[in-house]
Symmetry: C2
Subunit: 288 residues, 2 copies
């Protein structure tokens, strides 16, 4: 608990986690939750710190969820470092680490899915069919297992954040969803567990995403409000770097993810690209 | 509460219901829940009594859920009797009646669905596309609103019962699902709010469903275990009554709803038919 000297407890079973959460809630303790796929970096830890200050008990989950990876994606080689993750979470004074096996989450006979229709469309939804269905389903499960009062998600996965806000609102989960801003390396690269896949050359190419978003943001801040002009400027900038396969650049309403023609309200400019077959995403908020 | 003299409280808002449920849980009270579409009969009340003996606080919901009715179905004319229902529930010592408007359950922008793939197939799933998706979604919502420890559903809607058991297991709802046996009128007709639609002549025709299931059950109990022979006997019996449009007769495993060829384990023989355009379902359990 906050300020206590307790060691972090490792929980691997759904039933045990639910019993602990029940006990905490019955004791009047506010549970803060940060779901992750592990291989933790400063982006994740910034979310854990946010949960820490807002909660009496912090639960982090590590689960590389197979159902949100498509065929041919990187589920098998997704980076894992359980011991390193544990040390990082203990240093952040996390109370419980929930780290189930896939068979514990999806036992034989499993057949239920949660789907958000509109917010899942476009952007990453077009390039990763079934991805957001997998995300929505596993997050609904984790919410029922951990029973938090507040859960924190990163703005790096911006569309995912809105999918989760939507299931919470639509399915009446009694949980407050908070977000943490995107955290970058010193050179500007958005932090991601997948950065581990990049060669030194790929790492240099990847910086083009940050530089191009920054160009879009600067153009916006010097007066350009036409979304298609901004998108084209970012596209042109990304494509000027050899060896990047651009998947999309889009500007959407930051709250609803609706397509927009002019940037009036806060908006998100989002990009996805392949660099040496490594899929990276990045975004910046305009007008916030 | 059990044995108290409190009047039943009527709750119409999601937030208010969640706050009451939180308070009850924090006080260590076990919440028992019976979701209904109202126009209550003895079948519903038998479920309420089951919840009453098992719980410290009983919540009943009445919500005619639009999303589980297909186009051309009877959503608009589904029978309603809020005052009569209230009196029946007060007499059963129910503590809270949750009775939201459709706009409270599905506000503008709603876009999330819960779907169970296998158990929703066949039987009523074939004749009411989208029905079980609507059921699974509204029940997931109600579970998050009422936060019960135990919920009771009728075996009359047998496929629905298994859909709900499946979402609870698959999405890790920490809720015990209990079932109540099908309740019949004195002449054997399965109780249903939709019986109110029947003319006196239709009412007589409808008895054929009970008589035919009984024939199947007798045949089974006198040694016939071949599912197709049992199904054919029931079909023939239903079709011998003029003015009944049979939708299906099927025998399925009572626990998994898997199709079976021989009745070994407990099985359900289920039937659906239209009588004067009124859709009725009925079932009997074999081998229990």
């Amino acid at each position: 608990m906050k300020g206590s000297e307790n060691k972090m407890e490792i929980i691997r079973k759904v039933k045990e986690m639910q019993e602990i959460s029940d006990r905490l809630r019955h004791e009047g303790k506010k549970i803060g939750f940060v779901p992750t796929m592990g291989y933790l970096h400063e982006g994740h830890l910034s979310l854990v710190r946010k949960a820490r200050v807002l909660s009496d008990a912090v639960v982090v989950s590590i689960f590389v969820n197979p159902t949100q990876f498509g065929p041919g994606e990187d589920f098998e080689r997704y980076p894992r470092d359980e011991e390193g993750d544990k040390a990082k979470l203990e240093a952040e004074d996390v109370d419980f680490l929930f780290i189930p096996e896939a068979g514990e989450m999806y036992p034989s006979g499993y057949q239920t899915h949660v789907e958000v229709t509109e917010v899942s469309k476009g952007l990453c939804g077009d390039f990763r069919p079934g991805h957001f269905r997998g995300v929505a389903t596993v997050v609904a499960k984790l919410f029922n297992i951990v029973k938090p009062r507040v859960a924190v998600f990163g703005e790096k996965d911006y569309q995912q954040l809105l999918v989760i806000k939507r299931i919470v609102r639509d399915l009446n989960f009694d949980i407050e969803i908070l977000s943490g801003t995107l955290i970058r390396e010193e050179d500007g690269l958005a932090m991601s567990s997948r950065n581990a896949y990049l060669s030194p050359e790929g790492r240099q190419k990847a910086l083009s995403l940050y530089r191009s978003l920054l160009k879009g943001k600067e153009l916006y801040e010097t007066g350009e409000k036409d979304a298609s002009v901004l998108v084209k400027a970012v596209q042109k900038s990304v494509e000027s770097t050899a060896g990047i396969v651009l998947q999309y650049v889009e500007i959407r309403d930051a709250e609803t993810l609706d397509r927009i023609e002019r940037v009036g309200k806060p908006s998100v400019i989002a990009v996805a690209a392949l660099i040496d077959s490594v899929r990276l995403i990045d975004n910046m908020i305009l007008g916030r």
